[in-house]
């Protein structure tokens, strides 16, 4: 059965003489691995398409005899030029794509897949050469976590639930998923202090269009706090040590 859909290339591995196994993020099935037979020789079915970051229109064929789907054809819709021209954009795109490749679900609800796919396209489309910094990486990572279903609670205390309570003198408690107000904090909690400004900035970033995130600039203590909190949150819930992190950190 052939399925026409859109896809974002997360990763590929050359296989055999001319085949390529491609890991794709799709809006209807989530993460999919498919084999493109003869992809490296093909001038007509896969012309210049099966490369990381590429947004494609694809034809997938699910074969009953094999677990792996077969990619019958692909057409390039967008290759996000700034990602190829600017090292900051390239590094951040690699970071996001690696995160999605390792954390995006393969099954589950179509609405979740669509939300994640839209996020990935928006995130790559919004990268502007010369405007990628560590602050944007933290905000992108937070949005990615939210789209993957791991949105930290930033608007109320995770224990008492009082809105804005966590923003008065907040802490961040990774194991319980968000901000904690001072009265709710127990001595044994491994909570880290966050400034009010940091919590507000992170909370605001979750509701803004992705294209506007580069206007939110964090620096100094705020950036250190936010980076540490979001990275610890990611490690706790997704358990990922991303290989591209070292590259991205060096660019910052």
């Amino acid at each position: 059965m052939t399925n026409n859909t859109e896809a974002l290339v997360l990763r590929f591995v050359d296989y055999g003489e001319s085949d390529r196994i491609v890991h794709l993020l799709t809006p209807d099935r989530g993460r999919v691995a498919a084999i493109a037979k003869g992809a490296r020789r093909s001038q007509k079915r896969f012309p210049g398409t099966l490369d990381i970051f590429n947004h494609l229109k694809i034809q997938l064929n699910r074969r009953s005899s094999s677990g792996m789907q077969r990619l019958e054809g692909a057409k390039l819709l967008n290759l996000f030029p700034p990602v190829r021209r600017d090292l900051g954009c390239f590094g951040l795109a690699c970071y996001l794509i690696e995160m999605l490749d390792r954390a995006a679900p393969e099954g589950g609800g179509a609405r979740d897949h669509e939300r994640l796919f839209d996020f990935a396209l928006d995130a790559l489309s919004s990268l502007v050469a010369g405007r990628v910094d560590r602050s944007l990486r933290v905000l992108y990572e937070l949005r990615a976590l939210a789209c993957l279903g791991f949105k930290p609670e930033l608007d109320s205390c995770v224990r008492c639930g009082v809105p804005e309570c966590g923003q008065l003198s907040p802490y961040f408690l990774v194991s319980e998923g968000g901000t904690l107000c001072a009265p709710c904090r127990r001595p044994q909690d491994a909570a880290t202090a966050l400034s009010r400004g940091t919590v507000r900035m992170l909370s605001r970033s979750l509701t803004m269009p992705i294209g506007s995130l580069s206007r939110l600039s964090m620096g100094g203590k705020m950036l250190e706090e936010a980076d540490r909190a979001i990275r610890n949150f990611q490690r706790f819930y997704l358990g990922l040590e991303l290989r591209s992190q070292q590259f991205v950190d060096r660019l910052s």
């Binding site: 990763r11 050359d14 296989y15 055999g16 003489e17 001038q43 007509k44 012309p47 210049g48 398409t49 490369d51 990381i52 970051f53 590429n54 057409k75 390039l76 290759l79 990602v83 190829r84 021209r85 600017d86 090292l87 390239f90 590094g91 690699c94 970071y95 794509i97 690696e98 490749d101 290989r243 591209s244 070292q246 590259f247 991205v248 060096r250």
Partner: protein, 199 residues
């Protein structure tokens, strides 16, 4: 399948080669078993010698039987032109075209953060030193037109700009024998961006 230990060991080793699965490894192992002893000895010797006899050229980092390699020692080539490629196979492809008469520099890959490959893992510092020390006039960046190849090309251009060397990038666009109808819009767009006057 239960097979004698030496065959199992051969299958296990063949499976470690890229693109070889268990079935292919088994097929190759039984082929070798049925082949004349001379063929097996020659293959084993070739594998052993390739690791022992092939070295990296100290100038261009291509694989060679000697260092400096034959091309780097060739006085008829233009030492002021350096073509940067990702891998030795790319050097061979450019050389086979007969279009380039300068020298080469093999980077050893591209920037690939997802695979943990950064600038320090490529022979970029060596390229910079070579350009400065040898007074190169042109560096042709011939990394593949992939996301990683393009990003690497821009990174190299940024690093080399201060040397004042002329920096060029190989053209990309419609392939010979290609069909506009089947080409993606980016390729067609690049063909127009880089169009040339008909001589």
């Amino acid at each position: 399948m239960v097979v004698p230990a030496p065959i199992e060991r051969l299958i296990e080793n063949l499976r470690r080669l890229p693109g070889i699965g268990e079935k292919s490894a088994t097929r190759l192992a039984f082929y070798l078993l049925a082949a004349p002893q001379g063929f097996a000895d020659e293959l084993a010797s070739a594998i052993s010698r390739v690791k022992r006899d092939v070295v990296f050229c100290e100038i261009c980092f291509d694989m060679s039987e000697s260092s400096p390699c034959r091309l780097c020692q060739d006085k008829s080539r233009n030492p002021k032109q350096i073509c940067v490629v990702e891998e030795p196979a790319d050097r061979a492809a450019v050389e086979a075209s007969g279009s380039f008469r300068g020298l080469y520099h093999v980077l050893g890959g591209t920037l690939a953060p997802i695979d943990g490959i950064g600038p320090e893992d490529l022979r970029i510092a060596e390229l910079e030193a070579r350009v400065r020390d040898k007074g190169a006039e042109e560096v042709v960046i011939a990394t593949n037109p992939t996301a990683e190849g393009d990003a690497t090309a821009h990174f190299l251009a940024d690093r080399l700009r201060s040397t004042g060397v002329r920096l060029t990038r190989i053209a990309s666009g419609m392939p010979l024998g290609g069909d506009l109808e089947y080409a993606d819009r980016v390729t067609v767009g690049r063909s127009f961006d880089y169009r040339r006057d008909i001589e």
